[in-house]
Symmetry: D4
Subunit: 246 residues, 8 copies
């Protein structure tokens, strides 16, 4: 229930147009209506640019078609993640104004959004790039400028040092790394900005599908590092965009 | 805001005693008041017998004294769990009408509560009894009749079989077992009532502080078994009491 | 050995129709007969409505055909879980009176059963629905009324709050959630009924195939929550039905 | 820059072919200068308010005395974490201008710092408060305004809803929770700001010293949540302060 | 109910001394009595030498005194494991005919038992000896001859080779080892007898309290190796004694 | 080098028929020859009936053909485990005197072996049967009599009790169970013989591929239980056969 | 070096107060130059024989073609690991001077390299050979002599003893083993040289994909053992080659 | 039996001074004597400087006194690790020629040893120093020169870069780090020498007592890194010394 309707209802009671008991019946359910409202309060600014996100992996083609069809009619950015080639083609068919980002495995319908600050997307190796692209495409769709700095892992630390200044200019860095995940600590130590670490499942054996990188990042000796789920490039890009609001 | 007050408010608006804007100001915050109300809806019947529970282990003596002092003025049952002897003595000093159950490590101020059905509390060994007593004392304080059936582990399955009938008469069984936790499956297979399994940290080595029992219970081949946290006698007794409502 | 036969035997001994040693030979094996009996005691009411359950996943097509063929001749409900499309078609061929529930991946031969109370089946997201349907179809086959309340996860808490009342009307709630599994705690806090939590393997990375949800549910701060195995919709629905007995 | 080029550059300066300022411009970006400088770049603003942090737990009393004695002569904020009462007293003796925060187990010598924005510090229960206080004291020492919102766990979701607006006004929220850690998801869903989740070791049994909360937070269905180490209140407060820079 | 009594009862029925209904009342509870009997069938030969075992660690001094007092009146061997010095002294006071084995932390009242075969008890290092002694004392009390072969770990494989023949003469070997637990595989490869492997918690760091040894032993490339719980010397000695029956 | 040859060599030295340096050259390599001998000592009786075992899963078809071709020329039993249908057909082609056991996934060339005692092979469910058959076929090939007792899990404990006597007659029981693995404890409690427990990977979710059953069996409250690797039917059957030697 | 000093130095060069060579000496140690240089320092000798290594598994065929095409123009050894047959064929097409090692799954373009010492490559079983070949091919490409000693696991310890001398002659041993990984400890105890242990994922059940072997090797009772990642034959061969430098 | 003695024995047989049967009796046990010899072959050079090592933690004071008393009479270096202050004092009393290293918690009786090369001991933080000192003291006692480079963790990467050259001059580096253990990768990337990584238990929460560092090091993207057990400074120093042999 929005505020205008609430005022009208109260006026109707006053004028005798609405019996007390009818108003009571409607208002006693208000919390949820109002909560919905509260929720709109939250979502409204998002609708002005922040995404409706669909996790594509667990959706059937029918579901996906329906959801994308419905969302393209909405004013906000639409983002579908973890898409196979086939599902991406389907999305494009339904919403030709959108764009497919194969490396990021995303489909995006871009909208005019408020300009955000710069987000550095940093990877340890080339195998981490798909996850990094998910973060970068997300950040760009949300209005941020994504500065891609790839393949600067700590085994060749000079590569990272050369890019220190570029990272420092961002408002936030998303560090994407598998194996031992040490890059997050190294970047965190080099720059004075928040670092969102995204562990990846790149590795084998005792990397345990990204657990080694995850633990390494959680135990970072740099205090400006926080961590999201393994391979969660979208989450890294989304959170960085929130931080990059000017 | 309770319903009576909401009705009064609407009547006052109707009568012109309350300006629309004032009513609006009060009602636009209603969700939380109403949610509070909704919550009261939940808690009120509990206050008529269900406990205010205090996890004693993490409270300082000062905090404990304050909380028990405040709660004894309330009409509902008061239960404090995981008490040291020293803290239990403190509780008794503050609320002499309460009772200390040393084996269960609980302090309880009993109140008149609605009578619930019978709850069987079953243990595998004698070392599981403290956790079982926490469940039993909880169930009794909530109005249930606790049938204690202790030391009937599967290594001597005939002990359990002798007690099958006694367990069957209950509306629900709480099975408390450490080590391999096999008793939950065995009881679940013997009786047609719900079984709440409480793994205990009894054991050593590869029991991993109760994890072996927990996993055993989660993988029970009897489909009438659900599990609560390791050593969570209170939770087992509480949930069983909800199920034992007639 | 049933009681009538035991009486007859004793009478035959008294009348001298049965030598003591013969009676002894028969009675010394009684435990198992009697235990069988005890077991019948348990199973008999189940046969009046409670299911013979077959875990379809690990059965060959031959085994499945044989089992379903045998069970359809029995008076009780027949439930086969975790069926592929192909195996479901086989079941339908053998027992055309049964019904296939594709989303739940179950095959059910319904029978006249005692009416049970209402069971709320609640999911966090749409990906949890197959497991929830397994619970709902199970509960319905057992005589319960299943109230489906889907996609009300805590990331949009207002969706859940709107359905609070609907959940409260049930005798028990089955909460089905993957990822962090927080919904079980939230539902447990909103309603005063037992909550059976079913963690699902929905998620990726550090969800570890449902372990994150499982641990979250086991550590629920709401004391009315118990947990079954990951993706065990059948178990959740079965146990809830036991609790929903009027 | 290779050696040949460096030699040539120096010769050009000598010969007057290259102005000193041009050579300076090129050489001042020499990585090492830059690295040292970059590091200064990072540390300098910190020294103007950001902390020198000492992890008190692993230091001997002698080491602690020496370090605090040295740091108090520096212009920047000094923070010592995880202090016993005894070590805190020692800190106060050496630097009476500092202040001991017993609940946060910190010792802080405050300095004039740049004013940062508002940071909401939210806890699930009262047992999480020490970790939350570490975050709050850290944020305050760094110039942020800490809004403490304690004991609003999801088991009583209305408590959280009442505080939604207060959290929304902050630039970032630090959510501190043990057990199942569900609060991070719930807060993340309610507000459109970044959420830094701090799992705590509060709980027992299958909480595994905070692992359950950690996994819950990493798998949050709210995409604006990132996580730091278990019980790492300092890290949460530090990172939130970086984000709260205006 | 024992067989003699069953026969008597049947005879009484025959003679008319016992009404059918009275016999029926008694016999309808027979299963459990009979099961008790079945159980006696199992325990009786044990009472002729096999132990009543008490896990001393989890017993209070009062409980221990009561149990030992009761057991000494029985004809079978009495074994109390995991005893502190203090509890052992108590046992000796109550049952001076018993003996305390400090290294094994056991108290044993020996009885005349059937002679069993030879059991080799083999350890990797000196730190494994307490667990090995628990196995050896157990085996000896049960009638076996324990051949102690200590400190022959694989890091000095020649030490083991020198003792190959001595091990081969036994009917079964109990191999006790911590750290990597490799000794079980080595012994298993050298001899053609069953090997019961007892992992110990000797080690540190990635030994994880005996898990490394446990996993090593479970994955033994020698097919004649089975494993008991970490530090379970008693179980190793008990099972070996069963195998060593001639 | 055998003892006769050693004696002869020394005599030749004495007689001057063998120069000291030649004898030295031969004897200084003695340890390995002797060790090989020692090894033969071990293997020789095995060759009279105990198997050459080939783990078929990791062998290429070429390797398998070569190995089976070589082994069939040897006097001892030949056993190949974990065979696909295709590889089994290949084995049969190469050694038509052998036999394929499809359920056990084994190929066996039987030989005349010493008769061993009775081994009970017990399973909890029907899904455990392939692993049990691997144990049974192994035991039979080695000379034991395998008593198959299948589908007697603890969820229907009376099924097990009916078979207690049959199990008791064996010299050793192999208990094969997945899910919670409780059957090992139950069997261990019912009979006074050694129990070799084989956890299986039957189950889902928190069974973790057999870990739940493995932990349950390691923590068995019955002291006559030892455990082999998950799904290691061969190991269970082999070790049981060693124990069943008369 | 701070900026002021850099400016002063340049001015001094200009004014002739500082000879170019003195300035050069100071500036050539500027960390960045040094870092670049240092890095060259490291890489230069490598380029003269040490490999450019490409992890083939995570590369697309296009990427692989590009990388191999570029690297073959360089003077150093080129190594591509974890190649499918198809990708190996592609490599051979692009660089026919290279060689494919199918068992090691590597492609190598050999170059003239400095001769290194002898490296013993030891395996427990035949299934470990692919990983061992990766180590051996790596070591040989780097200039070492690889001594292959395969299938000498501890279950038949005499096989290892026969090869002790051969292993001792190497400067370092790479021990490759799955299952319980005990071979590393046994080799470590037999020889006085460094042992690099490579756990393999050979095994099943509780080997957990190589974790059991990994833990066994980390807990080795032989102090001359260090461990690399599961299945990391390349790492083992590379590190051994560094150690085998004469 | 050493070679000289074997030759003498054979000569005595030849000369008739030793009857064939006496020689036979002695030689038939030769394998083990020879193996002992082989073992002496290994140990002899060690005795010329390499240590007899005693793990002090698990020894009683009596055992320690006896062992140290015995070892001081031997020619080789004596090292006792993990000593409490009290036990160290005892060692000094018994062997006043030894020296106590409190930070390393070691007691060492130094002997004249062959000079080895330089070993760099590098730590991430100050809390890692005790483990590093254990490595350094071990290396020094064995003849190496230990270059201590402490507190150069990746959070301040420039500190490490400054010490690159110093590390490069060593023949091998021992890198000691807790928390995320990233330093091993960074050092491995900077220098072309073997790196032995020692994870430490420094950290809290998700460091899991050193597991995070251990996994990070095992997954190092630098191929010249191998890992020893958590906190195993002795192992790191010992293995490095073997590598540092000139």
């Amino acid at each position: 229930m929005d505020q205008a309707r609430l005022r009208r209802l109260l006026r109707d009671v006053k004028k005798g147009k609405l019996p007390v008991e009818d108003a009571f019946a409607e208002l006693k359910d208000l919390p949820f209506a109002d909560l919905g409202y509260a929720n709109l309060d939250l979502h409204r600014p998002l609708r002005g640019g922040f995404p409706e996100v669909v996790f594509g992996e667990s959706k059937s083609k029918e579901q996906l078609a329906g959801i994308v069809g419905a969302l393209r009619a909405q004013p906000g950015v639409v983002m579908v993640t973890r898409l196979s080639e086939e599902k991406a083609a389907l999305c494009l068919e339904i919403a030709p104004e959108g764009r497919h980002f194969p490396q990021a495995r995303m489909f995006v319908i871009r909208r005019k959004v408020r300009k955000l600050g710069r987000v550095a997307i940093v990877t340890a190796g080339t195998s981490d790039i798909p996850v990094a692209e998910e973060a970068a495409v997300t950040a760009e769709a949300l209005g941020a400028t994504a500065e891609r700095i790839y393949d600067v892992g700590v085994a060749g630390i000079h590569r990272l040092l050369k890019r220190r200044e570029a990272i420092s200019k961002a408002k936030v860095a998303v560090v994407v790394a598998g194996m031992e995940g040490a890059l997050a600590s190294a970047v965190g130590g080099l720059v004075g900005i928040p670092v969102i670490a995204v562990p990846t499942s790149v590795g084998y054996g005792a990397s345990f599908g990204g657990v080694a990188a995850l633990l390494g990042m959680l135990n970072s000796c740099s205090p400006n590092v926080a961590v999201v789920n393994i391979d969660n490039g979208f989450g890294g890009g989304f959170l960085a965009s929130l931080i990059a609001r000017k």
